[in-house]
């Protein structure tokens, strides 16, 4: 297939005009981020999706300790495809976030500061984010090959038997994201909808 002729002039791994942001977040940074901002994340984050959440919350219910301290951290909703030999990771784009809504307030209570996925969050999650001063980010869905290029290291932290739903720690460099919910409670998807009307 002749993809080359369609290629943009330069190979972008992110958006244009990104604001660089370190993760975990440095003091005072969350306050500067607004719904609709394009950012580029560098640093470390944890991953988890449906089963990961179910297990974390089950541990909390049983009064047991979590395998990670989520305080101040960013949690990326992703279930990567397996890495081939020599690769850091396979494709690793976002999964749909609403499926984590049932669990998210519990994790925000522990001090989780940001989540990253795709799609809108429930009003309950949005209220919990506002209460705990947390934000929600989205990245581009279905671009798992491209996004894998911004992940420079991946290590297994817990729940290995859950396969793609295990909890990993990623090191990222220039990982692109859009701020959907800021700490003031604004929602970028709603802003887009309002623009149309």
């Amino acid at each position: 297939m002749d993809i080359e002729k369609h290629l943009p002039k330069r190979e972008k791994s992110g958006f244009e005009n990104l604001k660089p942001v370190r993760v975990p977040f440095e003091e005072g940074v969350l306050e500067t981020l607004q719904a609709g901002d394009l950012i580029s994340l560098s640093g470390s984050l944890f991953t988890g999706r449906d089963q990961t959440h179910r297990r974390l919350v089950t541990l909390l219910d049983e009064g047991r300790e979590l395998p990670v301290d989520l305080k101040g951290q960013l949690l990326y909703y992703v279930g990567p495809s397996p890495a081939k030999p020599g690769q850091v990771i396979g494709a690793a784009g976002p999964t749909t976030s609403y499926r984590m809504d049932a669990y998210t307030p519990r994790l925000l209570e522990l001090g989780l500061k940001a989540t990253l996925g795709k799609g809108a969050r429930s009003m309950v999650v949005r209220a919990a984010m506002k209460k705990h001063g947390a934000i929600y980010l989205a990245t581009i869905g279905g671009a798992g090959a491209l996004l894998s290029k911004s992940i420079v290291k991946s290590e297994l932290v817990a729940f290995e038997d859950a396969g793609p739903e295990a909890l990993f720690r990623f090191e990222v460099e220039g990982f692109p994201a859009v701020v959907i919910n800021d700490i003031a409670g604004n929602d970028f998807y709603e802003i887009v909808k309002a623009r149309k009307q």
Partner: protein, 278 residues
């Protein structure tokens, strides 16, 4: 009569599974490029460029286009003059298992009760049909569930008419918002019965992207739905712009005088589909 070994089916399914996840078909790519060229919103245009770049990296390095390499959906149409030696269903499932294993594809199939992952991406969902002749056609559609979950079916009263059908489909896409990774492809099944409508919606996704239904009346409805969806302004990833949907495909079947079933199967821009004839 022609004899076909089931091992040939296994090999064909395995090859389809491996290539479908990494190599987007030219019809999808052409639509992404056309969407980028007509897009005015800088953010959406930028995102479409990223999707084109993503397809390029995926094909060049044989990394899946999307990490959700789906639950396999296989349509097999067997010629009535073909004898298949061996177990056809096993042959298909074995092709899926081998393809997902050797292709480093994500295993996303689990038990619906225990949620335990089968670890192999097996079983795939397989639909069989008979056709005249001595050929076997296999179509493979790995279905990601960010988009599959946004699908729906309604049994409308016939009084709702085509206007009701169009409203239902447009509302489904609107409600899905950014969940199914727009720009989406919308498969619509109209008529038949409850299960027939769902199957028609899924099968319509196999059509070359954007090819209108040969029935002019149906093609007009496809266009009307597409234009209404794209006027809503949700756009790529729900970030605005004119490209919420790339295409609407509708398939119809005669229905009962009391019935008007409508099924909407939503597919994402990572619309992976491959076919082969044996």
């Amino acid at each position: 009569m022609r004899t076909l070994q089931s091992s040939e089916i296994t090999k064909a399914v395995k090859d389809l599974a491996m290539s479908a996840s990494c190599d987007l078909e030219p019809d999808i790519l052409d639509h992404l490029v056309a969407a980028r060229d007509r897009e005015k919103s800088p953010l959406a245009k930028n995102a479409l460029e990223m999707l084109i770049t993503n397809a390029n990296i995926a094909s060049r390095e044989q990394i899946p286009v999307c990490q959700d390499t789906g639950i396999g959906v296989v349509f097999i149409s067997v010629g009535q003059e073909v004898i298949i030696e061996g177990d056809l269903e096993n042959a298909v499932q074995e092709g899926i298992r081998a393809g997902y294993d050797e292709g480093y594809l994500r295993k996303s199939v689990c038990d619906p009760v225990t949620r335990k992952n089968t670890g192999t991406n097996v079983p795939a969902v397989v639909h069989y049909e008979l056709e005249p002749g001595d050929r076997v056609h296999i179509a493979f559609l790995p279905k990601g569930c960010g988009s599959e979950n946004m699908s729906g079916l309604v049994m409308l009263p016939p009084s709702a008419g085509i206007a009701g059908v169009v409203d239902y489909v447009v509302q489904k896409v609107k409600d899905a918002g950014s969940n199914p990774c727009p720009p989406v492809v919308v498969g619509v099944g109209l008529g038949g019965t409850f299960e027939k409508a769902a199957l028609l919606a899924k099968k319509s996704l196999l059509r070359p992207l954007g090819e209108p239904n040969p029935d002019k009346n149906v093609a007009e409805i496809e266009q009307e739905i597409l234009q209404r969806i794209n006027r809503e302004g949700q756009g790529v990833m729900g970030w605005g712009g004119v490209n919420t949907a790339l295409a609407v495909h509708m398939e119809t079947y005669p229905t009962h005088i009391a019935s008007l079933p409508v099924a909407v199967n939503i597919q994402c821009h990572a619309h992976r589909h491959k076919e082969v004839e044996l």
